[in-house]
């Protein structure tokens, strides 16, 4: 295949303890370390390996997000992607709108494969990949833990509740990646310098002419409840009493 399109979402780094904003309208991102969504990083790693095996000729990384998402795209370029596209949006984009943006890019670029993380660790929606496959009218393989490309088909091992399921799909298709698919490479310093010279196109989301869905509105963000201090009980009877007191049994 010629091209692989990979989605890279800018999210709060997985090591950061997230905090709800004081206005309750989301989480704090000012001065917080931001990174590539880890599942997307796995998607990019897989795309690069497919390309390195000679089964694709170009890897394009795409992000929908604020201007600062260029940082994540540059990291993607430093990992080895050939070029980057930022669809700039100051506001968060819901999964359906994101899928529509990707469809527009699919129509422009005609990739043989779209590789996305199974979900982003910020909102955990796990929807964009499935929605893209549906509106594109192409097959999907989600939660991939192994991908084999043979010409115009892909054999994908999926992590499902009862174990591993292996399916074969026709390309072009959407594949979403799970944690155990691969271990992403480290960015090497010389490649950081090379990435500066690779093309990164920025298009305002409004210029795409894509209809933005507003299927839902965020009503509130609440942090998880603080864990309260435990109590020590003397014996089993004490435990049962304590649970009864709290109305748990």
């Amino acid at each position: 295949m010629e091209k692989i399109l990979v989605g890279l979402k800018r999210v709060v780094d997985y090591n950061v303890r997230v905090r709800v904003r004081s206005d309750g309208n989301g989480i704090e991102t000012d001065g917080v370390k931001m990174s590539i969504n880890p599942f997307d990083e796995i998607a990019l790693e897989e795309a690069l390996r497919i390309k390195e095996r000679g089964e694709a000729s170009e890897v394009i990384v795409v992000s929908i997000g604020p201007s600062e998402a260029q940082q994540q795209l540059r990291t993607g370029l430093a990992m080895g992607a050939d070029r980057a596209i930022l669809i700039e949006s100051a506001e968060p984009v819901d999964p359906l709108s994101g899928a529509r943006v990707f469809l527009e890019l699919v129509n422009r670029e005609q990739p043989g494969l779209v590789l996305l993380g199974k979900q982003a660790i910020d909102n955990d929606n796990n929807q964009a990949g499935q929605m893209l496959a549906a509106i594109w009218g192409c097959p999907q393989a989600t939660f991939a833990s192994k991908i084999d490309i043979q010409g115009s088909t892909a054999t994908v091992t999926r992590e499902v509740d009862i174990g591993l399921e292996t399916i074969e799909i026709e390309l072009p298709a959407v594949i979403t990646t799970d944690l155990r698919l691969n271990e992403p490479r480290y960015v090497k310093l010389p490649d950081i310098m090379k990435a500066k010279k690779k093309p990164l196109d920025i298009t305002p989301i409004a210029d795409l002419g894509v209809e933005m869905a507003s299927a839902y509105t965020n009503v509130a963000f609440d942090p998880p409840e603080q864990r309260t201090k435990g109590v020590m009980v003397q014996d089993v009877a004490g435990l049962v009493d304590a649970l009864k007191d709290k109305g748990l049994i």
């Binding site: 905090r19 260029q70 940082q71 480290y186 090497k188 310093l189 010389p190 310098m193």
Partner: protein, 399 residues
């Protein structure tokens, strides 16, 4: 049941990063951040899991050499010769993240980059550069730097190692002491007095009369190799002399590079210690409340954070000066002095705050503390740096 004040889950202000109170990271360029992130991830994944064992058993984890080379961390500031060509801030961040792992590993990279590859690049012949720099960047050739001698390190002008011309060759006699990488080096940059002044020689492993003896039983930098070098009528051809420099300014300029990296590096060690203390002081319940709820503890962690912040701002400005080509060795001395002192004091106090746990290798402070005893001593002791600054202020050399 005692009630302990809970941390508010929301507040009007964004919580500051305790390890970066002034958000110095926001001052970094995208490239610089990428460098920090990739080295940080490498340290978390590959260094921290192995370094404690290496320190306890007193060996250098050689498997890491190929990995740091692969990342492009060796000679990262050099343009060309298969090196990354990154700026001084990037080199500083590399040192900081590596030393968050261990000063021994950072020392390995400092020596290879600043004390071996730097002088070959700055003062070497084209043949020397093409022969050594790409191999050293790949970690296939290891280097060491021989300046300090057994009778003392702070007074390099009293150098007893001598090189004498003999036809087209040079013959070297003398000894060098406390040489990081000394017994594993493929090429040693040995500084020796000649009739013209101090000159640098590249001495290859296996050259007759040249031996290295590893220094064992160190209580510091145990995950790094330190050796004594002995030169007994070591004969090298004229091609092995670094042609570009004569005089002490040669080795001293190398030290300026390495000291610059150390000023950044020790921030990482201090951060590792503060991070450990903050976790411990939150978890450890004493007199029915977490340790962190005591004024005495808060004052001490606040002081650690203050000193880390000062060190970070100092290092950043030092890096900007270096990248602008305006760096003065005195400025490097201020930062090496301030930051090493801060890191060592933080590590010692962190060890103390951990109580009995502080003496266990399961917690990082004692390892960093022991390492930093070397770091504050090598590359110019604290006193030497104070006297460099004193000389700058008074115009009088009081060494």
């Amino acid at each position: 049941m005692s009630t302990s004040p809970q941390k508010p889950a929301t507040s009007n202000k964004q919580a500051l990063n305790p390890l970066d109170l002034y958000d110095v990271r926001s001052e970094l360029s995208d490239e610089e951040r990428m460098v920090q992130d990739t080295v940080a991830r490498f340290v978390d994944d590959k260094v921290l899991p192995v370094i404690r064992d290496a320190f306890e058993k007193h060996y250098f984890p050689k498997d890491l050499i190929a990995q740091v080379a692969e990342l492009g961390l060796l000679g990262s500031s050099i343009e060309g010769y298969d090196c990354a060509g990154m700026n001084a801030i990037c080199y500083g961040l590399i040192c900081q993240e590596l030393e968050r792992g261990d000063s021994g590993l950072r020392s390995f990279v400092s020596v290879q980059s600043s004390l071996v590859m730097y002088p070959i690049h700055a003062y070497g012949s084209e043949e020397q550069k093409t022969r050594w720099l790409p191999a050293m960047a790949k970690g296939e050739a290891i280097g060491c730097f021989g300046l300090t001698e057994p009778h003392g390190g702070s007074d390099p002008s009293n150098m007893k190692t001598r090189a004498k011309r003999d036809g087209s060759d040079w013959v070297l006699n003398g000894a060098k002491m406390w040489i990081t990488n000394g017994s594993v080096a493929d090429a040693s940059i040995v500084w020796a007095t000649t009739d013209d002044g101090v000159r640098g020689f590249i001495i290859e492993k296996g050259t007759p009369g040249f031996t290295a003896q590893e220094i064992e039983n160190k209580f510091s930098l145990r995950a790094s190799v330190t050796a004594a070098l002995f030169l007994d009528n070591v004969r090298v051809p004229d091609e092995n002399v670094l042609p570009g420099v004569i005089g002490l300014k040669g080795p001293l300029s190398c030290l300026t590079q390495a000291r610059y990296g150390i000023a950044w590096g020790v921030i990482g060690a201090a951060q590792a210690c503060l991070s450990e203390v903050l976790n411990y002081a939150d978890d450890r319940i004493l007199f029915d409340r977490p340790l962190s709820h005591n004024q005495a503890v808060q004052i001490r962690v606040a002081d650690m954070a203050r000193r880390i912040t000062t060190a970070q701002v100092l290092a950043l400005q030092l890096g900007r000066l270096k990248d602008a080509g305006k760096l003065s060795p005195t400025q490097v001395s201020v930062a090496k002095w301030n930051n090493c002192r801060a890191a060592l004091d933080i590590a010692r106090d962190a060890r103390d705050l951990l109580g009995g746990a502080g003496i266990s290798a399961e917690y990082v402070p004692i390892r960093h503390m022991l390492n930093l005893e070397s770091v504050i001593t090598y590359e110019g002791t604290e006193t030497i740096h104070q006297l460099v600054v004193g000389k700058e202020l008074t115009g009088v050399n009081a060494f």
